[in-house]
């Protein structure tokens, strides 16, 4: 029996998650005028559980990546952190870590559930094998309730595993029985960010925010009595490459259905319907998405072998994570929330794929492997950023228990 949601919980739903009868433009010109014909499973389940559903806008086209730094500094923030998110919850499509990053910007909690735990039916996506519905809230209990409400098979998404949804009933966390892994390579990447101005912009001396937040989190976990063990994942730096190659190839196919012909604005002036299709697609997408789709098409048409290599590396990374999971119960990872909070002199520079991938560098791993990942904000004043916790696929319930234990020890809920 699933416990009901709190009375009158408000959940914000962006326009790339289908709500029957509501415009589902997903922040893209290609979907202008398109109205969802069905409820996404997550929406239907929340509605049935009595949630108040509120619309939220998509930040960026298709909600793909959070604009960070540069021009993005003047772009609207995700509404996460607004009153609704603190009291209620906000859903966010998570392609590359958006829900953790948005949570970090708003200093609230953000969960990316395990791949296959929550139905993707009705999500207007781009990267089918990596995307899922993320959940943000100022309360981990709320995230837990929302997750319990939306998780599990629906008969509409065949990628959900046959087994039952994991057990969400809260269980006691005994720190002395729990080992948390620290991935050496992830740590040094965060440390590396301190040393090199990765974007080459006018950043001056970079704030070692991620590394500092991470050091503080490790100290805190030790203080709480957890055993920390350093483990090695030699391919860690490949997560970004794998995501970019596989993600763009999938997007290049997936965006085909957003044809801007059956909905969206058709390009005028074409001589025949082939030309009309091509011109409409050409006009429909924004620069960032277009460069992503073209990159994917490049791998499809010209570098298929490189794509297959990326798929192999992905399988190996998943396997390596599995292997580490036999040594530790959970992992703690740094959260580099990028320079979003600081206004950059580069404002006005159009967002680039490179910039997008750089700002999500610390969150990509979970979208590549399908693991659950949780962002925990720091104790106010104690550290500049929070950190991420992750665990085996479908361990979402345990991961929330762990997060709750840690935040309660800080005087949270």
């Amino acid at each position: 029996m699933k416990p009901a949601l709190q009375q009158d919980m408000t959940v914000a739903v962006p326009s790339n998650i289908s709500m029957r009868g509501r415009p589902a433009e997903a922040g893209s010109n290609a979907l202008t005028g398109y109205t969802a014909v069905e409820d996404a499973t997550v929406v239907r389940r929340l509605r049935e559980a009595g949630a108040h559903l509120r619309s939220s806008a998509c930040v960026g086209e298709f909600g793909f990546g959070l604009p960070v730094g540069g021009a993005a500094a003047v772009a609207p923030r995700p509404s996460a952190g607004g009153a609704e998110a603190v009291d209620g919850a906000e859903l966010l499509m998570d392609f590359m870590g958006e829900s953790r990053l948005a949570a970090a910007h708003a200093s609230i909690y953000g969960l990316k559930p395990s791949y296959g735990l929550v139905s993707r039916f009705g999500l207007i996506g781009l990267i089918p094998s990596m995307e899922c519905c993320g959940i943000l809230s100022g309360s981990l209990n709320t995230i837990g309730e929302v997750l319990m409400t939306v998780a599990g098979q629906d008969g509409l998404d065949f990628s959900l595993p046959e087994e039952d949804a994991p057990d969400f009933s809260p269980r006691e966390i005994r720190p002395e029985e729990i080992t948390i892994g620290i991935i050496t390579e992830a740590q040094s990447m965060a440390a590396g960010a301190e040393r090199s101005p990765a974007t080459g912009d006018s950043r001056g001396a970079p704030t070692p925010r991620g590394a500092e937040g991470f050091r503080a989190s490790m100290e805190e976990l030790r203080r709480l009595g957890f055993t920390l063990r350093e483990v090695s994942l030699p391919g860690y730096e490949l997560f970004s490459l794998v995501h970019r190659v596989v993600g763009s190839v999938e997007a290049s196919s997936a965006a085909g259905r957003y044809d801007s012909v059956r909905y969206g604005p058709r390009a005028p002036g074409a001589k025949n319907w082939n030309e009309m299709y091509l011109m409409s697609r050409g006009a429909a997408f924004g620069t960032l998405i277009k460069s992503y789709l073209i990159q994917g098409a490049f791998f499809q048409f010209e570098r298929y072998e490189a794509f297959i290599d990326a798929c192999r590396i992905r399988a190996r990374l998943v396997e390596d994570m599995r292997r580490l999971e036999s040594e530790v119960d959970f992992f703690v990872l740094p959260m580099d929330d990028g320079p979003a909070q600081e206004v950059r002199s580069g404002a006005g520079v159009p967002p680039s794929l490179a910039g997008l991938y750089e700002s999500h560098a610390s969150t990509l791993y979970a979208n590549v492997t399908g693991q659950p990942a949780l962002y925990l904000p720091p104790v106010p004043g104690s550290a500049p950023t929070g950190f991420q916790l992750t665990g085996p696929r479908l361990s979402d319930g345990r991961l929330l228990d762990l997060g709750r234990f840690i935040s309660e020890s800080w005087g949270g809920e």
């Binding site: 039916f121 089918p128 259905r257």
Partner: protein, 477 residues
């Protein structure tokens, strides 16, 4: 120099499933345009494909029926190309990991030798939408009908084992029979549930080189496949002899011109694994269970009919070519009808009568038990063959038992010597000349006398009994 052809076939078969391949829409492409559509087969944002279990089973049965080996793991790929009949930009097809591999069909070749023509692999794929080009006033418009989009197909790709048009035609006929047997498709080339493309190249006889091939499409009968291949072999041979290069391209068969004509080069896009349709894992137990669902196949059935019932090879093959006919035959024999009688009545009386009435053997009012009852009356000499044919005609129009029709129409045969005696005596008296002829050695006269007695009985007398009585009387006389 003498040339030989190297031919491979690619055969699309539309599965006769109730639903489409990735959604629950009815698989009826011929309905009102766009009546059978949903967000999934229209590929609207947010919809996800869900592979139909029925399509998987029918494609698996088809594979087993053609001797192919089901693969423990197969998966769907996106065959990427763009056209208005495929607005999502890719077709779901199994390019890298097909459902089954191997298999083949034995055909009886022109020279009387049995040859195995091998299958390379069999894969599932979805059909695309149908484009209709019309004029709205003076404005040309392109319309898209999505009823066919997502219809379940399999593609059978053969090895380049074929050398002659005859082999290709025999292969297609046998394939059609076998697929109909397993019940996966009707395989009609005229309504498009079976479509065959041929890849044809030529080489000097006796060499094993593989030369540039030409693909020929648009043949909508087995005969057209043969004609198109013959034409293409002649065309390529002439080209090579004139020192012209054969270029890789696609041609369309024009049945009116009886020629293949070049079509615009087709764009061949890449294939990437589809991330939405989960890989298909088939356990040995599942495959075994499918195997138990296979019916007895035509070749095996033909052999059994020859061995068990003493039919000739030709008779057995003609019965087993159609699973409905073969099942009907088995049902008659199971009810005690002599195999040869069953075959004779089925092929010369019942099937023509069913066709004439545009009925199906399966659903015709003359079910096997009714025909068996009729043939039983015939076997017991209660009616003669003429009466049986008339009763059969009546059986199409009513559901009375054959016995009842026989009684009502008074067809019951007179086999009783006492009843026939007076009739025979009367005929012998009236036909003294014929009697004399017979007695002077003209055997034919006996048949004439039998006919007269038959006539006198109103067609009801048993000719065997008449003959016996006549023999007796004339021999004695």
């Amino acid at each position: 120099m003498e040339f030989e052809a190297v031919i491979g076939l690619e055969i699309h078969v539309e599965l006769n499933c109730v639903t489409k391949m990735f959604c629950d829409c009815p698989n009826h492409p011929g309905d009102q345009p766009n009546a059978n559509t949903c967000p999934t087969c229209l590929w609207l944002p947010g919809a996800l494909p869900r592979l139909s279990q029925e399509a998987l089973e029918k494609a698996s049965l088809l594979s087993l029926g053609l001797g192919a080996e089901l693969q423990p793991r197969s998966a769907f790929d996106q065959k990427i190309y763009y056209y208005p009949d495929l607005p999502k930009g890719f077709q779901l097809s199994q390019i890298h990991l097909p459902l089954s591999r191997g298999g083949g069909i034995d055909i009886l070749d022109e020279d009387g030798v049995t040859r195995k023509l091998r299958i390379h692999h069999i894969h599932m794929e979805e059909d695309v939408a149908k484009l209709v080009h019309e004029m709205e006033g003076r404005l040309p418009v392109g319309l898209v009908d999505f009823n066919r989009a997502g219809a379940p197909l399999v593609e059978i790709v053969t090895e380049p084992d074929f050398r002659t048009p005859y082999q290709a035609m025999e292969f297609l006929k046998t394939l059609r029979t076998r697929v109909r047997y397993v019940g996966s498709s009707d395989c009609n080339m005229d309504d498009g549930t079976m479509r065959a493309d041929a890849n044809i190249s030529i080489r000097p006889r006796g060499t094993d080189q593989m030369n540039t091939k030409v693909e020929v499409k648009n043949m909508n009968s087995v005969r057209h496949v043969g004609d198109a291949i013959s034409y293409e072999i002649a065309r390529q041979t002439a080209a090579v002899q004139a020192d012209e290069a054969v270029i890789l391209h696609t041609r369309l068969w024009d049945p009116d011109k009886k020629a293949t004509l070049p079509m615009r080069a087709k764009f061949e896009g890449p294939c990437v694994p589809d991330p939405c349709v989960p890989a298909i894992e088939l356990s040995p137990a599942w495959i075994e269970q499918m195997r138990t669902r296979l019916p007895e196949m035509p070749t095996e059935r033909g052999e059994r009919l020859t061995a068990q019932h003493g039919l000739t090879r030709e008779e057995a093959l003609s019965l087993s070519a159609d699973p409905e006919v073969a099942a009907y035959f088995d049902a008659l024999v199971a009810r005690g009808i002599a195999p040869r009688t069953a075959m004779h009545w089925l092929t010369t009386q019942l099937i023509p009568a069913v066709r004439e009435r545009r009925q199906d053997l399966n659903t015709s009012p003359v079910a096997p038990e009714r025909l068996a009852a009729l043939l039983d009356l015939l076997a017991k000499d209660e009616i003669n063959a003429n009466a049986a044919r008339e009763v059969l005609v009546e059986m199409f129009g009513c559901d009375e038992a054959p016995e009842a029709i026989v009684a009502r129409r008074g067809f019951k045969q007179i086999s009783d010597a006492d009843a026939l005696d007076p009739l025979i005596d009367k005929v012998l008296t009236e036909q003294a000349r014929a009697v004399a002829d017979f007695q002077s050695g003209q055997v034919k006269a006996l048949g004439f006398l039998v006919g007269r007695v038959m006539q006198a009985s109103g067609g009801k007398a048993d000719p065997k009994v008449i003959r016996e009585l006549l023999d007796e009387k004339l021999g004695a006389g």
